[in-house]
Symmetry: C2
Subunit: 444 residues, 2 copies
């Protein structure tokens, strides 16, 4: 039996995941729309034999342009450009089920899968927030539950579209003038609660059949959805215990859906600040914290907690009378995590903003390469993770340090691949089967 | 004053524009989803210093998979992959205003413009046909006029989104912690008949400001739309006289919209079959015609003419009692062109299918490189064209022959560039200005 190996995903974000990263002397404040910047990140990640690259997304201008780099490239576009600049690494793009049409998005993902030779992944999001809704003709966002109902209908259509061509439809009989076997084409004729889609996709079935299906919502609705559809899950967990609980819960939910729990990979996010000594790492982390503009953090925290502007005091704790998370229509799991973090560690609002500035609720960790590798190994061996979503505080330098100093330790410990080996699809790299075609016929 | 130069666009289509091209021994019937095939085409076109590459599109599986290669890659995805494999050539993707949301499409086009260094173009189509409508939850297609009203509203929103960031918004003041000047951000707050879009784009203004705006509908509604918005127009014209009329009409309509008629480039399609002698060219054209499956052509012609299956007789002419083109809800200009072609040249249905097989109504032309160059020069000098949309019958060989044998003649005659020179945006290459920002403020 081969040893179980870690999976590592590089979560790319302009100058880094720390909100103040753009202010460091080394950072290019125009990086977010610079293809060369992302090409360099992709090359570093491939040097580190990462499984995949990942880009978050929402169809909205999230942050105040006065505060920090705000414009980005649309993820499927950027990852398609990176597909031709890379050879092995997977390309996971976030796209919303609330603000796309299944026919269009299924086409684009299948096309990226063809163009990349089977390296496409889709991080399925439902997109919280009324700001996004108002960019699509809606006055307010759809309620939390109905967003997930729509997502399920969207997935059902998308899977039908990706299966609408059987793998061996094309016969290419030039002499007879017959290109394909029309009996192997299966128009979905889907009539669901949200979507009606009649015709077959206009893209042949792609190398992976479906792109790798990824999900990142950790609310009750999110976990139910993940157990049913997802093959990899990004999650924000602050403690080993919480991560173990989440891991066990998701694996057992997946089994209850009749799926192999080995076919859903749990990847907590980690924001590593790696130094050659612990003191150096802590100094780097402190420099980042000193560059935070706290008034901006205050505004964002009030927004996340659904509080009127001016409610919070930087040098006090969170108020005791916060609404329950079931009242939140946005990101419920993030809301709960932030409130718990503040309570557990009795943080002032200022301290909380400092902690969130690094990773927006993900585990932030400053230390030596060995210390980072120890944490990764501990979580991996103790049932908390199948791998990690690496979110460097500063890019590209933080990814470079992780690849050059942490990855060699993980390799030496036999926890991570030392080379890519023969070309594989993204799904193969994550140890997942190629999905059978739901319409596969018994035709000769 | 510099001499007026031709513009050449390479219209790419799997194994070529002739419907039987895939059946030739040289053709790869899997080419339509093969990135390497398109990379080769792009390299040939760049060798020929073409202005741009172009891909047609509809969000629907158009043709019968039994008859000919039917699956394709989504154009913006494919052109994004080609952006990183090319350096100079423009990338014009077709996308529908009927089946996209302005926020999503504006983002994708701006992102391609960033990724390509200002080489993105958008061929704006309204998408005829109920088959497409049924892939998007509609029972039937929107009527012809309302499709164009929606397109106009779509353009108005898209232009506002592309202008929502002033060019100099980003200040990147690291010391002060100020990334951008929020006063230079202009959320559209658009409330139109079809679209409501509140917020600013989440992509900074792109190198070209807007992608090159291209249009290809030649109906009355299409021409009105082109005169208002388009900077380049693809058109199917069978005779010099018709092409001159179209050219003059479109230029004067553009002037009446208050625009410079030099800022709309008219590019008729031409399907050249180039041989080293006229006999060789005619033989190649005949080989292609012999590979047409006429029953398939019959079905498609009946569909285009809105006739019940079985109406047409291969060895007779078109029936005299065809409905007027105003009764057609699909491609009106193509309908009229086909009927006129059959009448003018007294073609049987079989002959008509043979003519359409090559270029679906575009000018097909078999001859020596000199003869092809003569026709191009004649149309260019006699007020029928600013350039051409080159649609090789067979790909890649037909594009290679055009580049290696026709382009040198055009260059020798001083009609076409001999090299790209310094890097230019697509808009600069077509001699068009970068659009001013409609919100540009007088802020210091």
């Amino acid at each position: 039996m081969t040893q179980r190996l870690l999976h590592l995903n590089a979560f790319l974000m302009s100058t880094g995941h720390h909100e103040a990263s753009w202010r460091l002397p080394e950072s290019d404040p125009y990086a977010s729309v610079d293809l060369a910047h992302y090409r360099e990140l992709a090359r570093i990640a491939e040097r580190g034999t990462f499984d995949s690259l990942f880009l978050a997304d929402g169809p909205v201008l999230f942050s105040d342009v006065g505060q920090r780099p705000s414009g980005v490239l649309e993820p499927l576009t950027l990852l398609t450009a990176l597909a031709t600049a890379t050879e092995h690494i997977g390309l996971i793009a976030t796209a919303s089920t609330s603000y796309n049409s299944p026919y269009n998005l299924a086409r684009r993902l299948a096309s990226l899968d063809h163009v990349s030779g089977g390296r496409a992944g889709w991080n399925i999001v439902t997109t919280a927030g009324s700001e996004a809704a108002r960019n699509f003709g809606l006055d307010a966002e759809p309620v939390h539950a109905s967003r997930y109902e729509r997502a399920a209908d969207f997935l059902d259509v998308a899977l039908k579209l990706w299966d609408s061509w059987e793998d061996d439809l094309i016969v290419a009989d030039k002499a007879a003038g017959v290109w394909g076997d029309a009996r192997k084409l299966h128009p979905p004729r889907h009539r669901g609660p949200y979507f009606s889609v009649e015709g077959a996709l206009n893209v042949p079935r792609s190398p992976q059949g479906y792109p790798l299906l990824v999900q990142a919502g950790s609310s009750e609705n999110g976990k139910r959805f993940a157990a049913r559809y997802a093959e990899a899950v990004f999650t924000a967990q602050q403690t080993l215990g919480d991560a173990q609980d989440f891991y066990a819960d998701l694996k057992s939910r997946t089994a209850r859906e009749g799926r192999d729990p080995g076919h859903i990979k749990v990847l907590p996010g980690i924001v590593p600040v790696v130094g050659s000594t612990e003191a150096e790492a802590l100094r780097d982390a402190r420099v980042l914290e000193e560059h935070i503009v706290y008034e901006h953090g205050l505004n964002r925290l009030e927004h996340l907690l659904n509080l009127p502007s001016g409610t919070l005091d930087l040098d006090a704790g969170l108020p005791a009378d916060l609404p329950p998370d079931s009242a939140v229509e946005g990101s419920r799991s993030r809301y709960a995590l932030v409130v718990e973090l503040a309570e557990r560690e009795r943080l002032t609002v200022r301290e909380l903003i400092g902690r969130l500035g690094g990773g927006r609720g993900h585990l932030t960790f400053a230390g030596t390469p060995e210390q980072v590798a120890d944490t990764i190994e501990e979580w991996f061996r103790q049932g908390a993770a199948d791998g990690f979503n690496i979110m460097p505080a500063v890019l590209p330098s933080g990814l470079g340090r992780f690849v050059d100093h942490v990855v060699p330790i993980l390799r030496a410990r036999g926890l991570f691949r030392t080379e890519y080996g023969p070309r594989q699809t993204l799904r193969e790299r994550y140890g997942l089967p190629r999905p059978a075609n739901q319409y596969a016929s018994a035709l000769a």
